[in-house]
Symmetry: C2
Subunit: 520 residues, 2 copies
Amino acid sequence: MNRVIKRLILSTTVLCAVATQAQTPQENSGAKSVVTAVRAYRVAHEGQIISEFVRLLSVPDVASDATNIARNATLIQSMLEARGFHVELLPTAEGRGPVVFGELDAQGAKHTILFYAHYDGQPVDPSKWIDTRPFVPALRTDSIDAGGKLIPFPDQPDSYKDNWRIYARAAADDKAPIIGVMTAVDALKANNIPIAVNLKVIFEGEEEDSSPHLEATVDAHKNLFKGDALITADGPIDQSGRPLVFFGNRGVISVRITVFGPLHPLHSGHYGNWAPNPAMRLAQLLASMKDADGHVLVAGFYDNVIPLGAAERKAIAEAPNNDALLLRAFGLAAPDGAGKSLLELLNEPSLNIDGMESGWTGAQGKTIIPDEATASLDMRLVKNAGPEQEFDALVAHVRKQGYYVIDREPTMAERLKYARIAEVTHDHGYPSTRTAMDLPVSVALMRAVDEGAGEPAVKLPLLGGSVPMYIFADLGLPVIGVPIANFDDNQHSPNENLRVGNLWKGMEIYANILAGLEWK
Amino acid sequence: MNRVIKRLILSTTVLCAVATQAQTPQENSGAKSVVTAVRAYRVAHEGQIISEFVRLLSVPDVASDATNIARNATLIQSMLEARGFHVELLPTAEGRGPVVFGELDAQGAKHTILFYAHYDGQPVDPSKWIDTRPFVPALRTDSIDAGGKLIPFPDQPDSYKDNWRIYARAAADDKAPIIGVMTAVDALKANNIPIAVNLKVIFEGEEEDSSPHLEATVDAHKNLFKGDALITADGPIDQSGRPLVFFGNRGVISVRITVFGPLHPLHSGHYGNWAPNPAMRLAQLLASMKDADGHVLVAGFYDNVIPLGAAERKAIAEAPNNDALLLRAFGLAAPDGAGKSLLELLNEPSLNIDGMESGWTGAQGKTIIPDEATASLDMRLVKNAGPEQEFDALVAHVRKQGYYVIDREPTMAERLKYARIAEVTHDHGYPSTRTAMDLPVSVALMRAVDEGAGEPAVKLPLLGGSVPMYIFADLGLPVIGVPIANFDDNQHSPNENLRVGNLWKGMEIYANILAGLEWK
């Protein structure tokens, strides 16, 4: 345990060094009036904004906690209605958290923007939170790693420092954008700045549980989801601290491979050299899938991938290359990828071993030939190389190594017939989404974010992680990501936190999009 | 759980089919008088013999249970002294079970035979014993798998059937030979048949805990262990049901290899394709160690191995080949070994993966790049290819795959310097012992066993499993194995049992050795 914590601290310390490389914002004159007005409003209302955020963070938000997840939905509904949104709670199967759908029409607007975030958070282990509890939001003067001290929430204007952090589950992932977009609307209204687009917000309550009902819910209410583009606010900004606009996510499919040996473990002395060892067989099978640089050797794995266009290549070239610092942070001497950068490699499909298990290791070690060996893999997918294609290519590869491939435990007859048997199964998986960076709405949104942020955002064609944005892409909506949370937010871990300055900047970015997003 | 039990039953059923192929004994006239006399004694004293065995089996005998293991030693001491043995309890370090040393001189004997067995048993999990308890011996009309029913222990003469089974921990492994040799002495004395050799018995109390103190104890009392040969009575007879004489055991060394990735698990979406995956690296490393037939590719692995002599090759050729039935029993379509038989392959060193572990698989699966991956291996060793040699060859192989090899967790500086780091450690290990089959004592002992058994025993140059008989071989003693327990005795598992007929036959074999073992 200490070993792991020690490593985490080592790693976080170096990542903080990455973040401090962030450029300081420079006001852009074009959007200056909106940003200035929003900032003035925020400075005057900091206590009130944080107080509303704390109220939202105080409601436990694990997707499986049906009672509390419903309390989140009705609280968000009341917050939206107070701002003039027309709200519907779209029920999901099994009585889980509804999709909160809110609509705010703008007079004379030509375009409609959908805005996605989720109000559920990762499951919590309160014992691992340091001095605070997941659903009792707390304020610190900096991150824990940087020695931040717990302080009370002030309620005077102009009292919050950018580096202060709010610690609570879902503070960053993903309730911050919900408060961010609502208070952006408040700031515009208070300053009489007209909103330029019709706004539809979609706040989901099951994202951290793999969005099991989102597709069905969207399908059942397709008419509500009409619009010109969808902004997803999920995720953190660039490791450099600069804002981020991204145009897609990799898809994903998880695969489980089990290779079978003798019916039960055998004494390695009595049968070693003779009874085939499934752990060795699995090792050989997995080893056949990648070369020493990590390039996937599965035939067809890179087929059909749509290459990046000029705009995408340019964006990657202009994005910060944090590879050297990340290597240091993770304690790695050299990356895979034969010289390509992380950002380039994230635009390729990947094949990764999540876990491997067979027999016993360590103190429980027994000198046996195991009865089976299992590996869990995930394949990250890019545009046009979908889950079925990559899974089929993998199965064909396993067959090519001499395996009889099935999707269940073998029968005795099969064990006696086939020298190599592999059980290969997969979850449903889903494809990648990638919106072209040179669409008019893409160009307009990048400009609105740059102006709202007062500095050029990092623009990326694809994030490596997977979110099921294909559900919206399938409706014909260009999907573009504009996250606001800090990179070192401990999302999916204990001690999740949001840097206060990221909420302030997020408000300004979202306000500038709402006030200024225009394209032909 | 059901899956495993189902497999075990399947496997055991087929193994019983192997055992029923055993040849029926045929009396050999040369030793007929001894065997006949011993059998008559046994028939008349069955109740008394089993009663003494039950008394010994009723004392819990897990090596770590210091109080009870000492009770075993003093009980055996009293049993030996009642038969005229001079007994010493040789203490071991840490207050564990002493080595029970007993000496019975024969008038005018030219040779001295040492007889090794152990009185400790494997640890027990009483919840897995079916209808009985490990240290409350019970009698069944057959094995559980064959539908044996629980019956009371009779005490009349001539009442025990050969197929009855006594269920208790250590009944087979390894208290049966202790009772077997003591009652063989009783039967000879009762019949006034002179004992032809001086007998020294060595009953160890820590064998199932890897004999941590045996070597030191033997070293401290070297003068006691002088003799002409050592018979080890540990282990089961041949799967065919025929008696067994074996002339060696493979040695063993256990090795643990850990390959390191990032300091902590990384999100496979954000870093997949870029951060090296230690599970894949380990798979590639392990895969490099063996070809598709299971032949070890580690350079030097088969060097220095002393080839089998003519007597050994002949013995293997004459031994039953149970491979086809074993394949069926274990649900395997084909063995490793490129066409060699199990018995041939057991005479080669082996490299076996005991277990493999990295990240998460199954329901707890997470889509991550693991921080490390570990494999436990064991290498079985043959004569002249000792633990250091094979370990050094393995480490050289790991280095050849590009690894920086250490015996501890890497430092941060090492992580940042070396792209491939492996922690490779090993236990102490010990070498193989192999006694030449054409020594005069070897030839004489084979004849004595054949005659005592009334059928030709299976003779094997080497058993695949490992026991530290090198301790005695290092004293210059030829070590030869004469086990008596049934093959399907569930040794090291719940429901350990001894087939009664094996004890009867064991008595006759041991008595014939004591009465008739002579060589020049």
